[in-house]
Amino acid sequence: MSSAAKPMRWYHNPALAFLAAVLLVGVLWGVLSSVMNFSSFPGPITALKELPTIVLDPNAVWAIAQSVGRMFAGYAWALLFAIPLGLAMGRSQAMYDIFYPLVSLAYPMPKAALMPILMLWFGLGSFSKILVIAMGVSLPVLFHSYQGACRIEKKLVWTAQAMGMGPVKRLFRIVLPAALPEILIGCRVGVVMALIVMVSSEMIARQEGVGNLLFTSMDMAQYATVYAVILILAVMGFVLDWLFERVRRYLTHWAESSGGGSSLH
């Protein structure tokens, strides 16, 4: 608004500011570790040097690949169920009355904490691990799909109805495309959530995967490995979020450029 006349500085370039943030975190980490001087708290350089050892270790790579595979399987299942349910809740009062109270009760439940119970029910295989991720991802996707379905212009739905479209066809042909911008925001939040639930459920179940890798290397006092794995997970979280934001903008540039309220395209 009023900043138009002020000069541009280096820190107004997002890339440079981001680089500064990375450096700041790295320097802070380095200074803290050298001040505290614990063997269990190596600096960033030590952790970075450990990275090739993990990336070249087939066992570690296999553990990470399996985790990521389960993460996307759970993510896909969540989208498959949560998007239609969220849209239906936005369009139908009865669906809303039934599912909203249940969803709001499930909201504060720690999903990864269900891991022991799910393993009791479905065994130690990957099904329970995929299911817990799907449960974690479902809620944010459901929130945003619902929100997207609520904002649709009534005229669009009426027109489709007048043209003789049934409720199911309307859901997929009219409501889904119109709610897409909001759904994709849910997908972006969901992918970060998938990573969080994946890591925490593996830390709880301790059988295989990245979460287990973290704690076994901690138990074996391979501290540099612990920090290197944390770095890998941090980068994964950041890259996934960034990637989904790019995809979201690419798919919905029509909605953002034309401003709010014009869902008639």
Partner: protein
């Protein structure tokens, strides 16, 4: 601004006003489907379709909760979890509000904080837990640190987004009347942003409940989460459900408490 708002959304799935909003239901309608679900659950268990070793009936869980609630040991676990939760949340809220407001003072500060948040917000904070354990030990400190790391971002983002959208004329008037920039934050910006910040705190509260429970499950010797881990190791299914119900109740209570404060502030302002 666009990036800002989508970032704020990413940290707050059910965030402040203008983001995800639910229609309000009457108390009667709100109870209908949970009661139906509980009845079906009870019926399925009573008819013997599912072994109680796999899924205990709701009444059995309730009876066990009452039984455990009469033991002092349970309240020790409950107390330590509540202590970690409250301390972590208070630190996160204080830190989030102070950082969010302080970033308004300088444009360099705002740019760096923005970049830091963009870097750190999408990182799965739970992955930092092993590092916190190695640095801060197995006790309370590492768990509180994890809660702060997780609950900080919703508060920070809400504070920041709200303080940027405070009416500039208010600040200009205060500045013209001789108020310093720092005093402006305290006297003009802070009162104006309280409702939005509370919405951030509400999200942070639920996140903090989840995180404290998970941290206690992963590495702890006490707390509600530890109760679940112990019960799981001994295959005591009934005892596994009790701490889960408690943490959900704690999260819902915190959520509605902050929601209540939010509405009070909204009406008085």
């Amino acid at each position: 601004m666009n990036r800002q708002s989508s970032l704020a959304r990413s940290v707050m799935p059910a965030g402040p006003r203008g983001m995800v909003q639910w229609r309000r239901l009457s108390a009667c309608k709100r109870l209908l489907s949970p009661i139906a679900a509980l009845l079906i659950w009870e019926l399925v268990c009573r008819l013997g379709w599912i072994e109680p070793q796999l899924l205990p009936a709701p009444t059995a869980i309730a009876a066990r909760m009452v039984e455990l609630a009469s033991a002092a040991e349970f309240w020790q676990h409950f107390g330590i979890t509540l202590y970690r939760l409250v301390v972590g949340l208070v630190i996160a809220v204080a830190l989030g509000v102070v950082l969010g407001l302080a970033a308004q003072l300088s444009r360099l500060g705002a740019a760096v904080l923005d970049a830091l948040v963009r870097l750190l917000a999408p990182i799965p904070k739970i992955a930092l837990y092993p590092a916190f354990i190695l640095i801060l030990g197995f006790e309370n400190t590492s768990k509180i640190a994890l809660i702060v790391a997780d609950a900080l971002f919703p508060v920070l983002m809400a504070t920041w987004a709200a303080s940027r959208s405070v009416d500039q004329k208010l600040i200009w008037s205060a500045r013209a009347a001789g108020t310093s920039r720092a005093a402006c934050l305290w006297k003009v910006t802070l009162p104006a942003i309280v409702p939005t910040v509370l919405a951030g705190v509400r999200v942070a509260g639920v996140i903090a409940c989840v995180v404290v429970f998970l941290a206690e499950m992963i590495a702890s010797t006490d707390g509600l989460g530890h109760m679940l881990t112990v019960a799981a190791r001994a295959y005591r299914t009934l005892d596994m459900f009790v701490p889960l119900v408690w943490i959900c109740a704690l999260g819902l209570a915190l959520n509605s408490l902050i929601g209540f404060i939010q509405r009070r502030v909204d009406h008085s302002g």
